[in-house]
Amino acid sequence: MVSMASLHSLTSELHAGVLTIAFICIVIVALSQFTVRYKSMMPKRLVNAAVRVRGYAEATSYLTAVAGVVFLLLSAWTGMYAWPQEALLDSPTIKNKITMTVFATVLWIGIVFIRTRFGRALWTCPAMAVLYTLLAFAAMGVLGATGSLGAHLTVGESVLDPLWDLFGIDIGHTYAFEATVAAGIALASIAVFLLSLLIARKYDLFAIRLAPETCQKFIRWDEPKIAEPTAIQK
């Protein structure tokens, strides 16, 4: 019978690998969009390659982000059963890892949500494309921190240790706010969320459908799709 520890190792490797691919693909699409946007200053071969690559990379990023979120949730589930619960909650490093896993999951779900809601046309809107790319960096950063904590639990060290030292973070200490501070943050966040909904409703933002015919004609950021041979720039 396969143990939960083995399954946890498997799902951990899967989510880390798949989400790394998703992140790399998002960065590739962002760079390709930039290349195509300023194609007059770029070598023609590079522009042609960017047009082709971004179509594949965009589709890959979406699929791998969805798969990565599924593996991330599976990894969290198997992790809860891989070790006895009382032992799990005894270790500050494991508690920090659980916290970071929760945050990474929320951020990656955010990425999947934005891509699902706006489609690949999100790349035609510069503000949304920048937000999407920054979100990918944040999600990958938190995921990397989670992986580093996991590496500490298994091998006792991580290649990201210099970063922890640089910021003076002691991963052997549980990071938590006082209950009142946490409640304040939660209340303020709920207020921000409600405010966002109110603004969206007032300006009818829920109805917006990003598409090439909206942003593209003004800003000339193409929708990244798998290019037909005839569409390639000669």
Binding site: A5, H8, S9, S12, A16, G17, T20, I24, I28, A49, R52, V53, Y56, A57, T60, A82, P84, A87, L88, D90, S91, T93, V102, F103, V106, L107, G110, C125, A127, M128, L131, L135, G144, G147, S148, G150, A151, H152, L153, T154, V155, G156, V159, A176, F177, E178, A179, I185, A186, A188, S189, F193, S196, L197, I199, Y203, L205, I208, C215, F218
Partner: protein, 310 residues
């Protein structure tokens, strides 16, 4: 051209993923040689190992500061070709459990350094670990224990909890048994399940040993190891007296008391704070994300409005 672009894409992604993979890896390669407490060995090892552990010492009655060689032998167990680590301890407490906490000085370990945790990377059915230590500088009874941790499908753990008891600085005096409580230590803050451990030395033979907390009998044992697991949540938070009394076959009694501080409330509050922090952080991320999306759409609306106005 299309195939070339796809090939380049795959090559780039594979290369970067390969480069990033080590930092995200959950590879189980054991724990590096280091100084460690008896607490949770990362990752927490929980399944009882079938390995047989034995401990031997070159001298059980060393002079003050004299050199003692401890040999820990491990055989059998499930760790076929995976790491096998051994921890040399002065107690099984979550803190102050290293030999140095009891006054010992490690002068060499199996890897030529001075750590109390050492491992072999690929265990092949048996292994021997040898430490050389200088005995404490104060007369008394001192105990050393060994704990193993290894992989092999599960996270296995095993203890040599009988330990070795040393009489440092002199012979066992005739008279009542001498009791040493190795866990908890004096004024130690404890919570949750607690293992009370005692080492008893006597010139004759121990008949039985009693554990009492605040004067109330908890349990008795007639043979070593003298270990008791108690749930501190059954006690009120605050100071409590732990007493171990040993009787030898001649009817002589010896005892030792330590004060411990039960603090389950602080642990519970810390746990609640952690959960609140996770919840608040999650809500904050969702809120900030919503705000960022709204801002992005407002920027788009603003830019398009300006463009259409021209």
């Amino acid at each position: 051209m299309r195939k070339s672009a796809a090939f380049i894409l795959v090559a780039i992604i594979s290369g970067i993923a390969f480069a990033l993979a080590p930092s995200l890896s959950a590879y189980e390669g054991g724990v590096a040689n280091s100084d460690r407490e008896a607490g949770c060995i990362s990752p927490c090892h929980s399944v009882q190992s079938s390995a047989i552990i034995s401990m031997q010492a070159s001298n059980m009655t060393p002079d003050l500061g004299a050199s003692v060689t401890i040999t820990v032998t491990v055989s059998g167990g499930q760790a076929s070709n995976s790491p096998m680590g051994v921890l040399l301890l002065s107690s099984f407490g979550a803190s102050n459990s290293k030999p140095s906490d009891a006054g010992w000085t490690i002068t060499s370990d199996p890897s030529g350094t001075t750590f109390n945790f050492n491992q072999v990377d690929s265990y092949a059915g048996s292994a021997t670990f040898e430490w050389t230590l200088n005995a404490p500088a104060v007369d008394g009874l001192y105990a050393l224990y060994a704990r193993i941790a290894h992989g092999g499908g599960e996270t296995y753990v095993g203890d040599y909890d009988a330990g070795l008891t040393f009489v440092v600085g002199g012979a066992i005096p005739p008279g009542p048994p001498t009791v040493m409580i190795t866990n908890p230590t004096e004024d130690e803050s404890v919570s949750g399940d607690l293992v009370v451990s005692a080492t008893i030395a006597t010139a004759t033979e121990i008949s039985y040993a009693l554990l009492s907390i605040d004067g109330e009998l908890v349990d008795n044992k007639s043979a070593a190891p003298y270990l008791w697991t108690i749930d501190t949540k059954t006690l009120e938070d605050g100071e409590h007296t732990v007493n171990v009394t040993a009787y030898d076959t001649s009817g002589n009694a010896g005892y030792k008391e330590v004060m411990m501080i039960v603090d389950n409330a602080a642990v519970d509050q810390e746990m609640l704070n952690w959960i609140y922090t996770m919840a608040a952080g999650t809500v904050a991320i969702v809120a900030l994300l919503s705000l960022a999306v709204v801002v992005a759409l407002m920027i788009r609306r603003h830019v398009m409005g300006k463009q259409e106005g021209k």
